[in-house]
């Protein structure tokens, strides 16, 4: 048995699988197509540094909110608690800042992880449908955020010391993008280099079969939610400067949808078993590009909802090709 692990050959295989991925995924064609389209139509505004910067920013927001939940969608469930983690985690940061200083931002992943565990355990024990469960928990978190705001009588829970996060260390590359990179890397790691990715796919693809193969399905379901929460929490660090605990707290279904939209656009159907964080990144990029294009075209931002809806319909229609024979409600 060959024990020598060739680093070069791993790099080559990763690269070649990336190329294969790009070729196979319809979304990547969409992205390439849109890029070309916008570059020609709006060449003055599209290919500028500022535009690139805003695309990257949008990309970061969308992807940070959707990478975590991708793991849960892989198993066939839904997790919308990323908004709650973002909001309430921000409140926690604000609360802890006087005591922990700059380090208090690291409460985010810890909180996310803890919340993920709670989601997972409650879902597995009580069999409450995951969508309803995570939606309600988000509602609770939203409320708690307002409570904290009310108790302390403040309008915003932003911490000025973190301002620098909104800027760009390198020109046109927002700091948040750099902060997002560890999340990307971690998600790839979880997906491809640990059992977790495989097992979650297995559970999503054929839960009974996974059980028969000896997998502790309950345990991995809980882990799936935990990872989702952890990644969302970590991702929220990158997003701390945007909205978060600052914005008015609404249980706006529309904002919540961003995450799911990116996942679906990327080609991870909601029934599970197929897809992964790499696809979600494509989806997030596509999502952002579409809206960038609409914005450049001068369409009223208030009408975006319509286009989100139409895009979603198109996305699920494309994704539905893989769903033949599955019994859907």
């Amino acid at each position: 048995m060959r024990n020598k692990v060739g680093n070069k050959s791993i790099a080559i295989s990763i690269l070649s699988s990336i190329f294969k991925m790009i070729r196979k995924n319809p979304v990547s064609w969409l992205i390439i197509g849109l890029t070309i389209l916008f570059a020609t139509l709006y060449s003055e505004s599209f290919l500028t540094g500022t535009n690139l910067e805003s695309i990257l920013k949008g990309f970061v927001i969308t992807s940070m909110l959707s990478i975590g939940p991708t793991f849960v969608v892989l198993m066939g469930s839904l997790d919308v608690s990323y908004m709650g983690i973002w909001m309430f985690g921000g409140a926690l940061v604000w609360l802890l800042f006087p005591y922990l200083g700059m380090a208090s931002i690291f409460i985010y992943p810890i909180f996310g992880l803890a919340l993920g565990f709670i989601n997972g355990i409650v879902h597995v024990k009580s069999k409450i449908p995951s969508f309803i469960l995570t939606l309600s928990i988000t509602a609770v978190l939203a409320y708690l955020t307002t409570v904290i705001r009310n108790i302390y009588g403040v309008l915003t829970l932003a911490v000025p010391e973190y301002r620098f996060l909104t800027g760009s260390l390198i020109q046109y590359v927002p700091t948040t993008f750099l902060l997002a990179l560890p999340v990307f890397i971690l998600s790839f790691f979880f997906m491809n280099f640990t059992k977790l990715g495989t097992y979650l796919c297995a559970i999503g693809s054929n839960e009974e079969g996974a059980e028969l193969a000896g997998i502790n399905v309950k345990k991995y379901k809980v882990l799936g939610f935990a990872v989702s929460g952890f990644l969302s929490g970590l991702g929220s660090i990158a997003l701390y400067s945007y909205l978060g605990a600052r914005a008015p707290v609404t249980l706006d279904l529309n904002e919540m949808i961003r995450g799911l939209a990116a996942i679906v656009l990327g080609g991870t159907p909601l029934v599970g078993g197929i897809g992964g964080p790499h696809r979600t990144l494509f989806g997030a990029l596509a999502y952002v590009l579409i809206f960038n294009g609409l914005f450049l075209a001068g369409i009223d931002p208030n009408q975006f909802k319509l286009y989100i809806g139409l895009t979603l319909i198109a996305a699920v229609l494309i994704a539905s090709r893989g769903l033949k024979g599955v019994l859907i409600t």
Partner: protein, 323 residues
């Protein structure tokens, strides 16, 4: 062995009837204590009616969908769009906004059902997407501005008091009639039976020769129709339309269906139960606002109530795998 299972079944079966009834009784008592005028004055009854009528209509539509085992998130958005259509186009079309709103609603319903039946797209996802389209359209036609309906003839659809002095506004009667029609459809027609069948055992429904595609599309169209009518009546009631209609109503609507005793899994419960669920939800809402509980907290309470009732009504034995 069979005996023991039976009584557990019996308990659970009747739990879904006992719970809402006792909850309703408790609520009435508590509310009475909080506000001695509750339900004793004409005014308080009218307020209740204005709050629950449009809601009941929408909840009936949602109940039908849930009975079939699906979900419909687009109802609040369709209500909004329907109301907006009335508000925006009344000056040009007069009462013809009504067929317009209905036609538009039916189209959305058709799309929802079609996406599910022909493309196998989970109903949650499909209706979510169409809700966005509806919202977007509402935004476009109104420009985001609130519309006022100036014509008392239009208001009269909803606010005519029958009988004139101490009666109830007409919207109440519309709601009750639609509710009764809903009960009729679900309990007495073969179509209603097939809705229960699909919700209860989709494989068996197919084997029994039920046209699943047709029923699914019809159900979503009905749900959208109810939502559309609710929107029209609501616009008449508040004499206008604005972009905040239906916002945050998904959870209370869902709660009212589940609290009434219709299980999320489908095949169990019914529109007849939804009236009680709606009453409970509206009373809960009034009670909480009387105590001065914040709007957001009220949402959370509904969420929790919905979860509890979901746990109570879900026939977990039947479902080995819950996602």
């Amino acid at each position: 062995m069979a005996r023991i299972n039976l009584s557990r079944e019996w308990l659970q079966r009747n739990l879904t009837t006992i719970t809402p009834i006792s909850a309703a009784i408790v609520l009435v008592i508590v509310l009475r204590i909080l506000n001695p005028f509750f339900l004793t004055t004409h005014e308080s009854v009218v307020t209740l009616v204005y709050g629950m009528s449009w809601f009941l209509i929408a909840a009936c539509g949602l109940t039908l969908v849930i009975l079939m085992g699906s979900f419909d998130i687009s109802i609040p958005s369709i209500i909004k769009l329907s109301a907006m259509l009335c508000g925006v186009f009344y000056p040009q079309l007069g009462f013809f906004v009504i067929p317009l709103a209905i036609a538009v609603s039916l189209t959305f319903g058709f799309v929802n059902g079609f996406l599910l039946a022909k493309f196998n797209i989970p109903s949650f996802m499909a209706t979510l997407a169409t809700s966005f389209v509806a919202e977007g359209l509402a935004q476009i036609i109104s420009g985001g501005y609130t519309r006022i309906l100036q014509d008392p003839a239009f208001w009269a659809i909803s606010i005519t008091f029958i009988p004139a002095k101490f009666g109830l506004p007409s919207i109440f009667y519309w709601a009750i009639i639609l509710w009764i029609i809903g009960i009729f459809i679900t309990l007495i027609t073969p179509f209603g039976r097939s809705v229960y069948a699909i919700g209860g055992n989709i494989v068996g429904a197919r084997l029994a020769g039920i046209n699943i595609v047709k029923v699914r599309i019809l159900v979503f169209m009905l749900s959208a129709l109810y939502a559309g009518i609710s929107g029209i009546l609501y616009a008449a009631q508040i004499q206008g339309a604005h972009m905040q209609i239906g916002v945050m109503d998904t959870i209370p609507l869902f709660a009212s269906v589940v609290v009434g005793g219709t299980a999320l899994t489908g095949g169990v419960g019914g529109i007849h139960r939804t009236l009680l669920g709606v009453l409970i939800v509206r009373w809960l809402d009034s009670g909480m606002s009387m105590i001065g509980i914040d709007y957001n907290i009220r949402m959370i309470v509904f969420g929790i109530v919905a979860i509890i009732m979901t746990i109570v009504t879900i026939e977990r034995k039947r479902i080995k795998i819950m996602k």
